[in-house]
Symmetry: C2
Subunit: 331 residues, 2 copies
């Protein structure tokens, strides 16, 4: 009886192991070149004795967010958040009705908004992203994300994430990688949802950073207040700079989708051994968007495409390489 039970248990264990091994780690990817490149890379860096073997503590992969992990069209989600916040705060600021850039926002003047300068955006960021403590800001973001919906997909922004990329992050983590987000977006904005949505904890979010000030609230409790001063714009050359600041190691893999990610991929690719550099190309107008060199948001210039070809960076076609775009809706 005992022996029979052991045999049965062993058989079950063997089956489970086989199923786990046989299970496709990237089910939302078509059987095209990018999927093969990912699996080949992971096998090379994780196989003991392989010339490309990478120690566990050195397995770092960095992901851009806007356009790489979630939708960035028709406008960056964080910009929509800032606009909604200006509208929400307007009753306490009657003077905004007469002052740009707030006047145009409150008049829903989209054309004027498209002409906003960096200075205009700085003013909007200053009133919506500073003056509160870090946890207060994250509560505001969480509340907004729980209610706001993408204008086209009619689902929360946190469900407008790319299922294939989430599988890729999970697959890398299952193989010992620390997955980081390295975003031009605000670090505290992305930290507000990255752990829940991507499984990426706050300490693995590198983003554009503002200064914070340590002070005491009226009850004498210490708090960190967000100031309207920029410490790092985590875009273009700022990406490797931010990676050095927070991570201090060159990644083994880097994933982006636009000219803002070029330096991160370049820096990653300049390391020794096996490195994986990939760019998501938005060429799927039907299921998501098609944009590239002419887009103001998420520009994928011809020069970037030429660079990708020259350096062997893998361009992911959303249309051809992804079976599905979004995860099933939570509802």
């Amino acid at each position: 009886m005992k022996a029979k039970f052991i045999t049965l248990a062993a058989a079950v264990a063997f089956c489970v192991a086989s199923i786990v091994c046989a299970q496709d780690p990237l089910p939302s990817w078509n059987e095209t070149a990018p999927k093969k490149a990912i699996i080949d890379f992971v096998e090379r860096v994780t196989k003991q004795g392989s010339p490309d073997f990478v120690q566990l503590n050195e397995r770092i992969a960095t992901f851009d967010n806007d356009g790489t992990l979630w939708v960035e069209q028709p406008i960056y989600t964080q910009v929509t958040f800032a606009i909604d916040q200006v509208i929400a705060l307007a009753p306490q600021h009657p003077e905004w009705r007469e002052v740009e850039p707030f006047k145009s926002i409150l008049a829903h003047d989209r054309e004027a908004m498209e002409r906003f300068s960096i200075q205009d955006f700085e003013k909007v960021v200053a009133v919506t992203h500073s003056g509160m403590s870090v946890p207060q800001f994250q509560e505001i973001v969480k509340k907004w994300l729980a209610e706001a919906k993408h204008p086209r997909f009619k689902r929360p922004y946190t469900e407008c994430v790319y299922q294939p990329m989430i599988e890729l992050m999970q697959y890398l983590r299952a193989n010992g990688f620390k997955t980081y987000i390295v975003t031009g977006g605000g670090q505290e904005f992305v930290r507000a949802f990255a752990e829940r949505v991507y499984g990426v904890p706050p300490e693995q979010v590198v983003g554009s950073m503002g200064k914070v000030k340590y002070q005491y609230d009226k009850n004498g409790r210490p708090e960190l207040i967000k100031l309207p001063e920029v410490l790092l714009i985590d875009d273009k050359t700022g990406k490797p700079e931010g990676i050095n600041m927070v991570i201090g190691r060159r990644p083994q893999g880097a994933f982006g989708n636009s000219t803002g990610d070029q330096q991160m991929l370049e820096y990653t690719g300049a390391g020794d051994g096996a490195r994986l550099m990939m760019l998501v190309h938005h060429d799927d107008a039907k299921r998501e968007y098609a944009y590239g060199a002419d887009s103001k948001i998420g520009t994928f210039s011809d020069a970037l495409m030429a660079e990708a070809k020259k350096k062997g960076w893998i361009v992911i076609s959303m249309k051809d390489d992804w079976k599905t775009i979004f995860p099933p809706s939570a509802k």
Copy 2:
């Protein structure tokens, strides 16, 4: 036979488990209040169902470096490094013989050096800590650490680390904590040895930060060059600010030794649930040093001692609470 084997195997497994469980995780600590407080804290936050249970992903502990993990007397190790570098670089800078603060350093004028202003130190840091790539700087640090010896203990600085604190870090890590260094010292300086000496990887070193610049070397290879511009002085209020920047979570435990650590402990202690705040008090002139309120380096002011008492921060007496100070020499 099989049954016997299983019984034997079970017995062996049981013994091994018992030995592991019975093994003292903090053998260099005396059986005094600090050791009990550490073990009590770890048991409370790791026990499923305990009201103080902390999820694995939220277990963060932060450690100051100078005076908390390694010796900081008679002068901060990094200052000795900078002085040695000025001396090493002097042949390429004949003009330094006539210009302060270099002139005093090259004349080994210790009294003049003790009167150095912040501006003097900035000039020394500028010529010794910038103008090279990050890996080049770390190589210089590694080479120096391999050769330099502490003037009193006659052993490498990386062996002038506190064995009890290393055991504490290991014990916390064995219980799921991520251990971070949060140091007023330079982030790249400490990253050069933290993984080898403390088991703390580069991404878990928060320190004073300088700007880096992404550029290309003469072969077109990207590199990050250290600039003489300060981004963060990771001391006093800078510690919680740096923690927010790199970690983005409030620590569960914080360990320091001087007034520069007060805000880090305060910020840690302001969180809910069980938190552990400890200060190393250097009161052991025989085995290490005795200094406190009057010391220029590692000041432990009377106000800090009063604050510790008021807030329940645990003061570690090196003399009474530590069985040994340093690990055995590698030689």
